[in-house]
Symmetry: C2
Subunit: 247 residues, 2 copies
């Protein structure tokens, strides 16, 4: 008798405030460790999760995707109900579907969307985990900075220095835009993929440019030299949301 195996794709959202990021880490509570704890219980077998990518400590998601394989064939409405009942309330499963055995949440992804929320007046007591703060930015300079980042580039200079140097650092940003509503700037980044810390490093520099502490040319210099030591600041994780992974 041949054993059946099923591949399940899940879309989840989470409030990252309480978690040490997505990926399992020793002695830390992470999104993945919570997902695994519940999946192992429901499936009564050792589950392995394939995430579309990591998110850092304190970063949020409204459309993170992962897949996992199981020998159980449980109706997905019942599965999702049990999953949400046993997960912490700040992690919610939004959808589950059976997918082809070839589907892989990371390797099958073709595009990702992130947003970053930046408030230009002091945050109130309820906002500090959910957006970042800076003084008022020059919106024109910010828009010019975003334009320089769009397109296909080698983004090694915006990547965390602890990443394996054999990695492919060439990525394409299809859209890098900003919308101002009252005192809040909403940044949108749509790209073929993003490197570790890339968005938070780009955001730190965009903010510095908007505050006239750095020049637009710093972006060109980082893209040309690919040197991750030109500008090393990393923006606050609380403003960052993984919105959508496209397949």
């Amino acid at each position: 008798m041949q054993e059946s195996i099923y591949n399940i794709k899940c879309v989840i959202e989470y409030d990252g405030s309480r978690y040490a990021g997505f990926q399992v880490q020793p002695n830390e509570i992470t999104i993945e460790s919570e997902l695994l704890r519940v999946l192992n219980l429901i499936c009564k077998e050792e589950i392995k999760i394939y995430g579309s990518g990591r998110t850092d400590r304190g970063v949020h998601a409204k459309g993170q995707v992962f897949n996992f394989f199981t020998h159980n064939h449980i109706p997905l409405d019942r599965f999702m109900y049990a999953f949400n009942r046993q997960l912490p309330l700040d992690i919610r499963v939004l959808s589950m579907e059976y997918v082809d055995l070839n589907f892989h949440a990371r390797f099958s992804a073709v595009k990702k969307e992130y947003r970053y929320y930046l408030k230009q007046i002091p945050l109130n007591a309820f906002e500090h985990n959910y957006m970042a703060f800076s003084k008022k930015l020059d919106l024109n300079l910010v828009q010019n900075a975003l334009k320089l980042l769009e397109g296909r580039h080698n983004f090694e200079g915006f990547c965390s220095v602890d990443v394996d140097k054999r990695k492919d650092f060439e990525k394409e940003i299809y859209e890098a835009s900003v919308k101002e509503t009252n005192d809040i700037l909403e940044f949108k980044f749509i790209g073929s993929g993003f490197l570790k810390y890339q968005i938070r490093r780009m955001m730190a520099l965009i903010i510095a440019i908007g505050l006239k502490e750095e020049k637009l040319e710093t972006i060109t210099k980082i893209l040309e030299t690919r040197d991750p030591f030109v500008y090393t600041k990393v923006a606050d994780p609380s403003g960052l949301y993984l919105m959508h992974v496209y397949y």
Copy 2:
């Protein structure tokens, strides 16, 4: 030489999610313990705080008031800046003013406003600390329940049973209303004062009436018998906000 003493009134807001309520408690982090830690540092003397009233674990405030006495005469703009710099980001001081030595945040208060937020569809990952959930309520029944609670009553039957029985349980509710926006019910309670657990006990019963699990007459019975064992459920603290204290 006579020593000077000053009375300072503070208005604060806080996200109560992380705290074991307002009042100092052994081995717990509370709003008051954080305020005292910072005030003792700034004033370099042992400070005592007089709050307008306690809030329970997980309850929020957008307009909590307290006063304290100090021998220091620090310009209040500088004081408030230092205060906010050293407080956790989920507690913010909104205003500070020198007041008459007779002012007492609790005894001088004449009116208080609370709001309670109840969502009638499941909460997302970002909402569960900030509102309560229930299935869809019958709004007509809810409004009739609120009408029964308005006016001057002895509210002992809605008060926590661990309260000193010599207390004055007679209070007046000037307004108990509800407004529906999309799937969220916003309840407003304005009264001369509220007893321990009173709003959460009233809310639990209002929700049960709206779900047709309890009858309107239960309210009348509790107000008449003053018996706190008629209905003992207490609604989720996450939906409750102290909005304003009037003097």
